[in-house]
């Protein structure tokens, strides 16, 4: 068979490759020009909670400890007004087999691949998810291929991603290491087409259903430990999976009053597809370079309909600086005896700041930790940043300029979460939705309802935003 393998020919075959490699007919959930039935997609193609629990127990995934960070809480109270300083708990997800919460997603994806008879799995990921897929695939006797973005045009490998690639190989994966660029997706499509393997995307209903147990476990453990529902749960936000899955689990556990907060490392000003900027950042995930675009248009992912849709669930979204996360990562090791992260401690860093504004009787839960390894450590990242020409010094972290410097706080009270205006993100979402319509300038009542749910907008505001983008409701 003679197939053209140039960039545009392969991209043109994208829909067909996706349909075969994911096994979901996404079109069957469409209910309008924009709209699709999200809950029906989750119900029909995901797995029910009890089944997820059974699969994860069989895979040695989940049921991780909830740890109270007593010294960090005491430190927060030392620098807070009297009566303030919430109890900080962390879900120690580094206790999963491949040592991050990503095992929850991978366990379901790999289980599904096995059930549907795929000979192997492929994942496009430079993060912990690769190791999680590789680990689960190894246990279930499936082949795995991980496609990573690792090095720049000078050949410098991001140390954290190099470590994650090593972990994938340790679990028996083939690892394709690529230089910088979004054409990673092109290579990913070629591999899916050649192998007929399952696309273990981070964004399928399986992957998100796998995270719901994180939400239910947090609510159950918090009730048991404190006698109350968590007042807030905070997650590190990149593609939206952990926030969406956790929030869905929290609702299933019957804790609708828990506030869902997202946190990203502030990397504003750095271009995510730039060869030059690639190695001028010290965080490879959990940052605004993924967090903002995925919030305002989830369907940019590697499947047609992203099951991770954070605007539906976020009550608040904050950013923290790179230097602040390194500082709190060091504090976690030194004060709590937990060497974890660094990227996964983005939410902990924000929690440290937000706890100062919450009452002493309140509980904030950080929903993950991740393993630390060679290259995957603040020391390694700081050494590498210096080599790349980034300055590192102690000072006021609010003055940090991503790509130019990393500012390690001098005092704990300088660790401050910056507010992201969710309304602005909702506006961007509607703009992107209108753009996706092409020349079409009318939407249906089903589309309007969908936008209201997907961006959490009331009807009047949604209509107003549509009008601003030249789109009207059809009669």
């Amino acid at each position: 068979m003679n197939r053209a393998d140039d960039y545009s020919s392969v991209m043109a075959r994208r829909a067909e490759i996706m349909r075969r490699s994911v096994g979901i007919d996404y079109g069957s959930f469409s209910t309008g020009k924009l709209a699709f039935d999200y809950e029906r997609m989750m119900a029909e193609t995901g797995y029910p909670l009890d089944e997820v629990k059974r699969i994860q127990r069989e895979s040695n995934v989940g049921e991780t400890p909830l740890i109270e960070l007593k010294n960090l809480t005491a430190l927060v109270r030392k620098i807070s007004e009297p009566g303030l300083g919430a109890r900080i708990f962390v879900k120690d997800e580094a206790n999963n087999p491949a040592r991050s919460f990503k095992d929850r997603r991978a366990s379901l994806s790999v289980h599904n691949a096995l059930m549907k008879g795929y000979p192997g799995v492929v994942a496009a990921t430079s993060g912990n998810y690769g190791a999680a897929v590789a680990s689960q695939a190894a246990r279930k006797n499936l082949s795995s291929i991980i496609v990573q973005e690792v090095f720049d045009s000078r050949g410098f490998e991001q140390p954290e991603i190099a470590e994650k690639g090593r972990a994938c190989e340790a679990y028996g994966s083939e690892v394709l290491q690529l230089s910088v660029g979004p054409e990673l997706f092109y290579v990913f499509l070629l591999v899916l087409e050649e192998t007929g393997f399952f696309n273990a995307s981070l964004y399928t209903p399986f992957s998100i259903a796998g995270i719901e147990t994180l939400g239910t476990e947090i609510v159950e453990q918090t009730r048991e430990r404190t006698g109350r529902d968590p007042d807030a749960i905070i997650s590190t936000h990149a593609g939206g999976g952990i926030t969406t899955g956790t929030a869905r689990g929290v609702l299933k556990a019957g804790s609708p009053g828990t506030r869902i907060i997202g946190a990203s490392v502030n990397l504003q000003g750095l271009h995510m597809a730039s060869d030059r900027d690639f190695n001028r950042k010290s965080f490879t995930t959990g940052h605004t370079g993924f967090g903002f675009p995925f919030a305002v248009w989830p369907d940019r992912s590697d499947v047609p309909r992203n099951a991770a849709r954070v605007l539906r669930y976020l009550d608040r979204y904050v950013t923290v600086s790179q230097g602040s996360v390194f500082y709190i990562t060091e504090a976690l090791a030194q004060l709590e005896g937990l060497e974890r992260g660094p990227a996964g401690n983005t939410s902990l860093t924000a929690a440290f700041s937000l706890a100062r504004t919450m009452g002493e009787d309140q509980v904030i839960v950080v929903n993950e930790t991740e393993y630390t390894g060679a290259g995957k450590h603040p020391y390694a990242q700081i050494a590498f940043a210096r080599k790349m020409g980034v300055e590192v010094f102690r000072g006021d972290p609010s003055k940090e300029k991503p790509g130019e410097n990393i500012v390690i706080p001098v005092k704990p009270r300088q660790v401050a979460a910056g507010e992201v205006d969710l309304d602005r993100l909702r506006e961007s979402y509607v703009k992107n939705a209108c753009k996706s319509l092409g020349d079409e300038r009318e939407v249906t009542p089903a589309d309007l309802d969908f936008i209201c749910d997907d961006a959490r907008l009331d009807r009047e505001r949604a209509l107003g935003l549509l009008a601003e983008n030249g789109v009207v409701l059809s009669a």
Binding site: Y7, S173, P182, Y186, I408
Partner: protein, 106 residues
């Protein structure tokens, strides 16, 4: 270093030349090729770095490319403790040990 059949080696190939990059990539990225490296077992009887060779990957695929490393190590390290972080634990312990509210220190 010479490699023989079955050795664990790394091969390199250009996936997209500079002129073939996706239209949306920024200028600096468009100027350089998309490159790929992968490891596997050497299928030729022998080869030296620079040779075009074929490997069998961990997933059982065969991939052709330029031999760039024989039994490549993973040499990322933890790096030296930077002075900017080395004293953080002590500083925070001092605040914890102090009495009352520490707005001055903290």
């Amino acid at each position: 270093m010479k490699a023989k059949r079955g050795d664990w080696v790394q091969v390199y190939r250009v996936v997209l030349e500079a002129g073939e990059r996706a239209p949306q990539v920024p200028e600096d990225t468009a100027k350089v090729p998309l490159e790929m490296k992968v490891k596997g077992s050497l299928l030729e009887d022998s080869a030296v770095p620079g040779d075009e060779v074929t490997v069998e990957t961990a997933a059982g695929r065969t991939i052709t490319g330029k031999l760039v490393a024989v039994e490549p190590p993973c040499d990322v390290s933890f790096g030296p403790p930077p002075p900017e972080l080395r004293t953080v634990g002590k500083e925070l312990r001092k605040i914890l040990a102090g009495g009352g509210c520490h707005h001055e220190q903290g």
